[in-house]
Amino acid sequence: MSKSTNYIIGVFNDEDVLMDAVGTLRSSGVKIQEAYTPFPVHGLDDALGYKPSNLPIAAFLFGLTGTICALLLTIGTMGYDWPMDIGGKPYIPLPHFIPVTFELTILLASLGMVATFLIISNLKPWGHDPFMFDGRSTDDKFLIVIDLDKNKMDKVALTNLFKQTGASEVNSKIVENH
């Protein structure tokens, strides 16, 4: 059985007004569902109370995996599986293995982090045109979306609060949950 959620959406024309609005709304005890912007607004994640992303840690771990794999590959193949005397060099000349180790570290760190980013953000090329509260938020509008059910204030009070903070429009939307 599907249930619907009522959202109220404040539309802003300017990122600075949006930032101030986020501050005002949160200090008034309003719980913000999400904000949508056409470009990255620095400090918005802090203002919304988001924790810093753990993606750099994921990148480090993937990079470490790359380093270990590369060392196993080079040392394992040249030192143990099929040792060859090449110009009288030692079987395991570590300085010669630095380029390959470095490249595989970078490769796995980059690909691993990007894959993690795509998975946790549910970004994939097939099967969905994402639900947009307002298509203009990819052009020049900034949105603050509030779930009415999760807030104590009613719609009228929230609309007034949005207007006070400088929203150019306040819209509401009912979304069917599946």
Binding site: P40, M78, E103, L107, D129
Partner: protein, 455 residues
């Protein structure tokens, strides 16, 4: 309130608003191609077809189709490879290193420069594969256990390092470029209908522009930039080691890694300028790719051009100082001998002397001069690679094996193939993808644009 810096001129001119950016950049993707685009595309495809014929013949008949001889086993193939890889470096430099240094002027040009990187590396790779002689065995360069037992590639060899460096560079650049495109594809998706909406919907991966998504996107961009920065330096360092780890006089030099990296940035920026100056006229992007961008890049060119010049002189000095007769001979012969003096002095004129004109502000800010010199620099850098490779090989240790290299039509045709491929891909990119990074330009528009008035 609009804050205009007294010391920094605006990066976006014409009083653009955030909405104007969407309009101006999306227009080229949404409208029918212009006549100029169709003409350029036709020319590129014709060149590509002729080049493909030459490349196919080279593959089918073998590299005996080239002008290689008993002494010169590498000539145009590796020259073109190193040249194209060098061209590619500016893209990653602009997107990664300038991002880490918080240089806002990168935003209008990074998208096209990254596209240039990817296409240039594809062109470079085509020479790597072609010069193997038996390209269908190219997978032998990968560390795969094979049918003959567990015989592996030689990880001591710079040629194997190259395989890892170039493929990593290509993959990471491609991913970096694509992640940057995703929000802009979403912008185009929201404006499109029908088939185009489905296509750009798939390309945009379902991007919705939420604050959480942007936070992660920024983290990814920053770490990718942090990964790409040493990657750029490592790739050309390793390319230079293809030569520097050998014992051929003229190649066996510890100065090669920094010298090649500087040369790569030098030629890459020149190619970005050539392409951007054309793109801004064809797509009417004069407000986004401004004289300020051009001047900033010209400053990088004069710096790296001077580094390259000092490297040439250092090589000469060290050849004399080393007291190795073969080394000294190679350098004296290269500059004053009978056979390759023209290539050497073309290189010196194009790379060392002509970029010095950029010390003059009027030259640096002149579109005509910049366009001319950007092409001169690219020609000069091709000669640099040629001089290093061909002149060092042409005079070996034993005079009986000395020889001169003359290109055949197939050498030229294979080079033309890469031009056809590069421009075909670039024109397709410019038509179907947003050529300027809309999201990033929008982010700087408030601090760096010449807006008439804001509320």
């Amino acid at each position: 309130m609009q804050v205009t810096s007294p010391v920094r001129p605006p990066l976006v001119t014409g009083g653009k608003t955030v909405s104007d950016v969407t309009q101006d950049i999306s227009r080229h993707v949404e409208n029918k191609p212009t006549k100029l685009w169709i003409m350029a595309f036709t020319l590129s495809v014709i060149t590509l077809c002729y080049g493909s014929y030459c490349l196919w013949t080279t593959w089918y008949e073998g590299i005996g189709m080239w002008g290689l001889n008993k002494t010169i086993g590498w000539a145009w193939d590796i020259t073109n490879f190193v040249w194209w890889v060098g061209i590619g470096h500016a893209g990653t430099l602009i997107s990664a290193i300038l991002l880490l240094f918080r240089q806002k002027w990168r935003t209008s040009i990074n998208r096209a420069a990254e596209a240039m990187t990817i296409f240039a590396v594809i062109c470079a790779a085509s020479f790597i594969v072609a010069h193997m002689g038996r390209p269908w065995l190219a997978y032998w360069a990968l560390p795969l256990p094979n049918a003959f037992g567990s015989l592996w590639v030689n990880f001591n060899s710079p040629l194997v390092w190259d395989v890892f460096a170039i493929s990593t560079y290509f993959t990471v650049s491609l991913v970096f470029w694509y992640i940057g495109l995703v929000p802009d594809f979403a912008t185009i998706r929201e404006r499109a209908t029908g088939v185009r909406r489905v296509a750009y919907g798939a390309l945009s991966l379902g991007w919705d522009g939420s604050a959480k998504a942007w936070q992660r996107y920024e983290a990814v961009s920053l770490v990718l930039a942090g990964c790409s920065t040493p990657l750029v330096l490592s790739v050309h360092t390793i390319v230079s080691m293809d030569f520097a780890t050998s014992v051929i006089p003229g190649w066996h030099a510890t100065i090669f890694p920094p010298y090649f990296v500087a040369g790569a940035i030098f030629s890459g920026f020149a190619m970005v300028l050539t392409l951007m100056l054309i793109t801004r006229v064809v797509f009417r992007l004069e407000d986004y790719i401004t004289v300020e961008h051009m001047e900033s890049m010209n400053k990088v060119i004069v710096l790296t051009g001077s580094i390259v010049g000092i490297a040439y002189l250092s090589e000469f000095f060290i050849a004399w100082y080393s007291h190795v007769p073969y080394e000294s001979y190679t350098f004296i012969n290269r500059a004053f001998g009978d056979d390759y003096w023209w290539a050497y002095w073309s290189m010196m004129t194009c790379n060392v002397i002509s970029p010095q004109l950029f010390w003059f502000r009027t030259v640096r800010r002149s579109i005509a001069w910049t366009f001319l010199l950007s092409i001169v620099v690219n020609i000069g850098m091709w000669f640099e690679r040629f001089v290093i490779i061909a002149t060092s090989l042409s005079r070996d240790f034993i005079p009986s094996s000395w020889a001169y290299f003359s290109p055949t039509l197939y050498d030229i045709g294979d080079y033309l193939f890469t031009f056809g491929l590069f421009f075909t891909l670039f024109l397709l990119f410019a038509k179907f993808f947003p050529v300027v990074n809309m999201a990033e330009v929008k982010a700087i528009i408030k601090s760096s644009s010449a807006k008439k008035d804001t509320k």
